[in-house]
Amino acid sequence: MSSNYLEIIRPGINTTFQDKGRDHLYHIGIPFSGAMDNRNYLIANKLVNNNLDSAVIEFAYQGPHIKYSGEKINCAITGDVIFSIKKKDTEIEGKCYESYQIENGDEINIISTNKSVYGYLALGGEFDLKFQWNSCSINTKANIGSNDGKKLDVGQRINLKKINSNKDIKKTNYINTKIENIRVIKGTNFDYFSEEGKKIFYEKEFTVSKLSDRMGMRLEGPKIDNIVNTNIKSEGLIKGVIQVPADGNPIIMLSDHGTIGGYPKIGVVASVDYDRLVQMSPGSKIKFKEINLSDAETLFKLYEMETQNLLSQI
């Protein structure tokens, strides 16, 4: 039995282990999964001197309240998150993008994400988790991954296999930027929609619905009118695809999406904007802006360089 472990005092709403996700499985019906906001996932690991593909705890809205037992370890939280660290005789207000050293008996209480959805808790070490298809990412719909594919639950104990010997405290000044427009590339069924429908898609505002989760983000707003067929023969999906079912309300496929779908695809979110898209909480206003493939590729390259730059400064 490991002597270094976490106990879940309160699990939070949707708390799972995530890492880089699993690939090469779409054809059997298993999506990527993995951390929703990849940049914040990577930064969390870097702040605690982990390998960048290590597992972290991902939470949405209300996060977990955790008690730690064992030898000293570093921890860090990324995202836009309100949390506190309770030590023996003091409680400190936590700051994101800074690592903290915690010791036996300390508690981390993640109260909530602030005007965003996902946050990440990394510990400087390695959780003792089951891997399925080279990933411990939890897919709660298919019950795949560590923790029997289920969300973390109250009273659970999570062991650590290893604690990093490098306990340097790290800090970075990253600020999560919000964007007004989500850039999209025209979908393969763009011509299924009426001229009015296409105009609505690019010009009107949509609202992120409460019915959004790791599988998909549903949007509400003006209806997008289909003039050809509200169904297509089912075909493959990727994350970021925007489908419009018969009711005219777009649904954006997110990291745990169904691998096949039969609704027309009006657009696909450009990879550069995916991390920021997933952070848009219910009620947020969303507007789409069309870009072409070559701009999307260039913008992603720049975003990726910026991520690498951020990581190298930590």
């Binding site: 779409y26 059997i28 019906g29 019950n143 999906l237 990727i238 691998t259 493939l293 992603f300």
Partner: protein, 224 residues
């Protein structure tokens, strides 16, 4: 043959093999799927074959549309080994406990329960693809007089093992999931098993499936 290749977003290729749904087009899709999968092109991280499309997703950090398109255009899919397919018998119990939509099917198809089962059972169906949820097979084709639309309002929970119909296709719900297909029966088999990482799916694209009826008692004793 691939009729057209376009981009699906900035990180996937959309290979269009035509609009019809039939075995010959689907076999082409599967042939390309298997060839590309074997060759392990650097950067391609997923392949999704469906009735008449193949989606190839790639890691935009490693490659891009132009490179992958060029690669796919120059593949000789004919070199691929012929589809290595199996024939499987799937036990299905159509007891009233399971056949939740039999009344609806009787009304839509204007056929009796007996006739519906007679039309459905003991026939060969071809697995066009798997997915939506892990391991779910899309099987076809149902007889012309067996084709019903999806439910107007999908169920929030379809029980695991449900065998269901829509249009010219049958499928099996590999675990409890939302769904809008017409449920005809239930199989006691585990059609998807995540503990078998090498072969989680019982049924794979290209396989042939025959449904064999079992009684409620046989169903109950099946896994004992």
């Amino acid at each position: 043959m691939i009729k057209n290749i376009s981009n699906l977003g900035d990180a996937a290729l959309y290979c269009d093999f035509g609009n019809e749904v039939n075995k010959s087009i689907n076999s082409q899709v599967i042939k390309y799927f298997k060839t590309i999968k074997e060759k392990k092109f650097e950067g391609i991280n997923n392949l999704t074959p469906s009735y008449n499309k193949l989606i190839i997703s790639y890691d935009l950090k490693k490659t891009n549309f132009k490179e992958v398109k060029n690669y796919v255009e120059n593949i000789n899919a004919q070199d691929s080994k012929d589809i290595n397919s199996k024939k499987l018998e799937i036990p299905v119990c159509c007891h009233e406990n399971f056949s939740m939509d039999i009344k609806r099917l009787e009304e839509i198809l204007k056929l009796s329960r007996e006739k519906i089962l007679e039309n459905f059972l003991n026939k060969e169906y071809f697995c066009y693809m798997t997915g939506f949820i892990a391991g779910m097979p899309f099987l076809g084709d149902l007889d012309e007089n067996m084709r019903a639309q999806r439910l107007e309002t999908p169920r929030v929970k379809v029980p695991k093992g449900s065998v269901a119909l829509t249009e010219q296709f049958a499928n099996i719900y590999t675990f409890e999931s939302p769904g809008g297909w017409n449920i005809l029966g239930n199989t006691p088999l585990d059609v998807f098993d995540s503990s078998k990482e090498d072969k989680p799916n019982l049924i794979n694209p290209g396989d042939t499936v025959i449904f064999k009826e079992i009684t409620i008692d046989q169903y109950k004793n099946y896994n004992e």
